[in-house]
Symmetry: C2
Subunit: 116 residues, 2 copies
DNA sequence: CGCATACATTGATGATTATCAATGTTGGGG
DNA sequence: CCCCAACATTGATAATCATCAATGTATGCG
């Protein structure tokens, strides 16, 4: 597994789409599908939701294993997928790992649908 | 497989979200994940793209098996998934089956991300 | 140093899923 | 009525994925 930024950091594809987009190439489709794959699981959607709903804007793993009826390793696995998709950001402080939404990532993902 | 409308027809959940959405329930998450599951495949993204790009607004299966390097049964299978997700509409005229984007479906799906 | 806590990684297993070959179905033409 | 064309469905298979138990790693505390 390469730690590649599936969702482009700042070089937004969004603003420069060649207007008359003919269709979707095989490679682009593969990249875009990776983001939707990350969203294609109920538990991952709930993880995103919980992180987003948190007042502090970030949550540690221990806050996430409770609401979801899942073991800690499974939650870590889902979080990793969301990070690799560019949707979540991980920051380790002390013993805890804090996860937060990548700013604009959800909006950018919504934009992917418009540029199909 | 039940022929259920995953993407709600008109009774939009969107307009009535209780403002301070606490988190995402297990059942809601499951429903929303179904739509993203349909988008989580490169070939299905390309199918949507081709249908969208077509000037007439609709495409028959024979127009879709070429660009994608897939057999006809596989394409039919993917199209069925997209229809069941509420993203595509199927209309049979004569021997041909025409697929078109469900109006507003992509925008509504984008809205799902905002209401996480 | 030694131990406990918080989290990640590994390995294994059962469940989905994507794909194809073969077959079924329906509609139009001769 | 028979055949062909367009598409759908079925059944089988290989690959992917979600989950858990067990283990590894690093950090803070005494």
């Amino acid at each position: 597994m390469s730690a590649l930024p599936v969702l482009e950091p700042a070089t937004d594809e969004t603003c420069c789409a060649p207007a008359g987009t003919p269709a979707l190439g095989a490679e682009e489709a593969k990249q875009k599908a990776l983001v939707f794959k990350a969203l294609a699981d109920p538990n991952r959607l709930r993880l995103l939701s919980i992180v987003k709903a948190d007042a502090s804007g970030e949550s540690c793993v221990c806050d996430l294993t409770g609401p979801l009826d899942l073991g800690q390793p499974t939650v870590s696995h889902h979080l990793k997928i969301l990070v690799e998709a560019g949707l979540l950001h991980r920051e380790k402080r002390g013993t805890w790992a804090y996860y937060s939404l990548v700013p604009g990532a959800l909006e950018q993902t919504a934009g992917l649908l418009a540029t199909l």
